[in-house]
Symmetry: C2
Subunit: 390 residues, 2 copies
C-alpha cells in the first residue's frame, strides 16, 4: 500500500479543466475540496485504500493549488522537526518522499541548526562548517559557536509531491475538477465552475450541487474560515502570513540547510530561500503589508524584517544587497499558512466537523507530517485501522 501503486483495475478518472467540458454529477461518495499538498495526498491515499469510493478532487485554481502555502513550502524534511512521539510517522513520510512520487527534487541535504549557547546534541560550529566546502561563508561562528547536525535531512519540492499525488489519484480513478470554487452548504457542496471573461473578470459559468457522503475541506489557511462561515463550526485554528524572500548567495546540491533563531536558509535554485520563523498567529482581519527599514519601504512584513535585523551580526550577508527585500509586498512571495490549533508549532491534523465534513490542515510541520496526516484521514474514511508507520 505504501508504494503508490494500486492493483485494482480502474480506468483513469476524468479531468475538467475548463467550463467547455460538460459536467454531470455521477454521484460522488467523497469530494476533496482543495488540491494543495494535503488535499491531493488525501485523494491519492483514498484511491489506494478505498478504490470503491467514487472520488472527486477539486480546486479553485490548478493542480497543485497556486495560491496556497504548498508552492512556497520550504520542503525540508528533518525528523528533528517532529516531536519524539511523531518520529516513526515522520520516517514513513521520508520513505514515501523517496519512493512514491517520482522526481520531486529530492536531495539529501544535512540540516545545520546553529545556536548561541551549547545545548544537548551540539558541537563547535567552526569545524563543522569546515566539513561543508559547498557552504558559502554565511555564518559568523563567533556569534553562533554551537551547532547541531542532522545528516538524515533532505529537501524536496512540496508542489511536485502535490502534483504527483493528484496525477496518481486521477490515474487510479479519481475525477479532478479545476477552476471550480466549492462552498459547503446544507446537505452538500455547491460547486461554481469559473471562467474568465474577455475583460479578465472571473465569473461563475455554472453551478452544481453535489451530495457526497463525505467532504474533505483541504483549503489550507482558508479551511477553518470555511468551517465556521459555511458550517457554523467554530474552531481554534488560526493562520499566519509567511513570506519567503530570496537570498542571492550561491548554493549547490551539496549545500546544507542552515537554521538560526528559527530562520531557515534553504538552498534552492542556485541560491537560498529564506523561511522566516512564525512566532504566532496573525489577528483576524490583518492585511499583510511591507514594512520600512530605516525609512525605506520594503516588501517584507515588519516582523520578518525585525527578525532578520536581529540576525545580521550572526549572518552578516543578511545586511547586504544579496537579500531581496523588494519595494512592496508583491515583490516578495508569500502565502497564508494554517496554524493547527492556533499554534505556530501545531502539527498537521484532521478534524470531523460533523455531517460528513472533515477539516484537513497542514501548517508549519506539513513538510514532515503532512503526507501521513493525509493518509490517516484517508484511512479513517476508508474504515482502515492500520497505519503503516506503526
Amino acid at each position: 500500500m505504501s508504494t503508490g501503486q494500486n492493483d485494482t483495475a480502474h480506468a483513469a478518472g476524468r479531468v475538467w479543466a475548463h467550463v467547455g467540458q460538460a459536467f454531470a454529477d455521477p454521484g460522488y461518495d467523497v469530494v476533496v475540496v482543495g488540491a494543495g499538498r494535503m488535499g491531493a495526498a488525501c485523494a491519492h491515499f483514498l484511491r489506494q485504500l478505498a478504490p470503491a469510493l467514487r472520488l472527486l478532487l477539486l480546486d479553485e485554481g490548478g493542480l497543485p493549488s497556486e495560491d496556497g502555502a504548498t508552492i512556497l513550502a520550504p520542503g525540508v524534511w528533518s525528523d528533528t522537526d517532529a516531536a519524539p512521539e511523531d518520529r516513526a510517522e515522520a520516517r514513513w513520510v521520508r520513505e514515501q518522499l523517496r519512493t512514491a512520487f517520482g522526481d520531486v527534487g529530492l536531495e539529501p541535504r544535512p540540516l545545520l541548526t546553529l545556536h548561541a549557547q551549547e545545548e544537548a546534541g551540539t558541537q563547535p560550529t567552526a569545524p563543522l562548517l569546515a566539513r561543508f566546502p559547498a557552504l558559502p561563508d554565511l555564518i559568523d561562528p563567533g556569534a553562533l559557536p554551537w551547532a547541531a547536525l542532522d545528516e538524515q535531512a533532505l529537501t524536496y519540492r512540496p508542489g511536485a509531491v502535490a502534483l504527483s499525488c493528484g496525477q496518481q489519484a486521477v490515474r487510479h480513478g479519481a475525477d479532478l475538477m479545476l477552476n471550480a470554487r466549492a462552498t459547503l452548504v446544507s446537505g452538500g457542496i455547491q460547486v461554481e465552475r469559473l471562467t474568465v471573461t474577455n475583460t479578465h473578470q472571473v465569473v461563475t459559468h455554472e453551478t452544481h450541487l453535489l451530495r457526497p457522503a463525505q467532504v474533505v475541506v483541504a483549503l489550507g489557511a482558508a479551511g477553518p474560515y470555511a468551517a465556521e462561515h459555511d458550517l457554523g463550526v467554530h474552531t481554534a485554528h488560526a493562520r499566519a502570513y509567511r513570506q519567503a524572500p530570496r537570498l542571492n548567495v550561491p548554493s549547490s546540491a551539496h549545500t546544507p540547510v542552515l537554521r538560526a533563531a528559527g530562520l531557515t536558509l534553504r538552498p534552492q535554485n542556485g541560491g537560498f530561500t529564506l523561511v522566516p520563523h512564525i512566532h504566532h498567529r496573525d489577528p483576524h482581519g490583518y492585511v499583510p503589508q511591507g514594512g520600512h527599514l530605516t525609512g525605506v519601504p520594503t516588501g517584507l512584513r515588519r516582523e520578518t524584517l525585525e527578525d532578520l535585523v536581529a540576525l545580521m551580526d550572526a549572518v552578516p550577508v543578511l545586511a547586504t544587497e544579496a537579500l531581496e527585500l523588494g519595494r512592496s509586498l508583491s515583490d516578495v512571495p508569500g502565502a497564508w499558512l494554517a496554524l493547527p490549533g492556533g499554534s505556530a508549532r501545531g502539527r498537521p491534523l484532521h478534524q470531523h466537523l460533523g455531517g460528513g465534513a472533515w477539516l484537513l490542515l497542514g501548517g508549519p510541520q506539513a513538510d514532515v507530517l503532512g503526507l501521513s496526516t493525509a493518509y490517516d484521514l484517508a484511512a479513517t474514511l476508508a474504515g482502515v485501522a492500520d497505519r503503516p508507520w506503526h
Copy 2:
C-alpha cells in the same frame, strides 16, 4: 520623598490649555512628551528629585491623555503580577497609591485567580467563593475547582493617578502644555500647538522648536514608533490593541477581582470591566476590527471573542446578554498598549535613545510597576542614586 510633598518653595508652573495663551520658550531643561500615567508620573517625580530643572509636560490632548492606555487600564495592583525580584518595587508602588495621590478610587479588593488544576498556592474554589457574599454567581466551581487568593490586592483608577501626578507637578513648578503635538527633530523638539476650526478640523496654530537637554518620550504604544521614525532608533518594542468590554453583572466595593485563563473581571462602576488576556503583539499595520460570532457582527476583536467563547463553560454569564459585545469596533472601548521588549509580559522600562532622549514605556504591568519605573527614570535624570524600594 515618598509623600508627594516637596518642601522646596517653587511657584506653580504655567498651564497652556489652548492657543489663545501666548507661549515663549523659557529654555527648558527637560520636556516630558505625553501626559499619560507614565509621563505624568515622571514629571511629578522630577519635580521632587530635581526641582532646579525647568520642566515642561505636554500632551496632544488633555491631562490625562485621553487616547492612550491609561484611561482604560484595569487599575489592579497585585504583587502576584510582579516577578519575585520586582516585589519590593511593587510594594513601594502600592504605598504610593495609598498615600501620595489623594482620592484615586483606591479600594482593597482581593484577587481570586481560578484554575482548572491544582497548583502551588491554590485551595478549593467552592468554599473560597462562599467567603465573598458580594460576589455574584459568576463562576462554575466544577470547571475551575482551584483558586489562589491575594488578599493584599487593591484596585484604583490609573487615570486619577495620572491627573494627580500632573497636577502635583504643576503645583510644584512644572509647566504643562495641552493640545500640543511634539515631534523629535534633530537638535530638539518641534511643538505644534493645535486648535480646532469651525469645521471641526484639527489644525496647527503655531510651531515652536524647543531645545531641552533631555526629552522623555512617554507616548505609550506610539513611543517606539516615534523613536524609530523621528530618531532612527530601531527598538524591539511592540504593541497590542486591547479592548475592555463591559459585563453588566452587579458588583460593589466588596466584590473581589476575578481572573481565569488570563481574563480579568474587574468590578467597576457597579458592574464589571473585562480585561482580556494579551497573548502576543499585533503585527505592524494591523487595523483593529470587530469579529463575527456565528455570523453576527460584534465590536470585539476576533481573538478576544475566541478567548471569551473558550471560557463560557467556566464563566457562564459570558454567554448571556450581560456581556456588551457591541455591533462595531466603536461600541467597545479599546486602546493600543505598549509591549515592552515586544513581550506581552514585558515590565515597564525606560531606555536611553541617545542625544538626551529617553523612551518611557508602561505596558501590561504598568498598574504594578509603572510608578516606580517613572520614578527610576526621574531619579536617573536627576542624578539620584537611591531608590526608595531598596
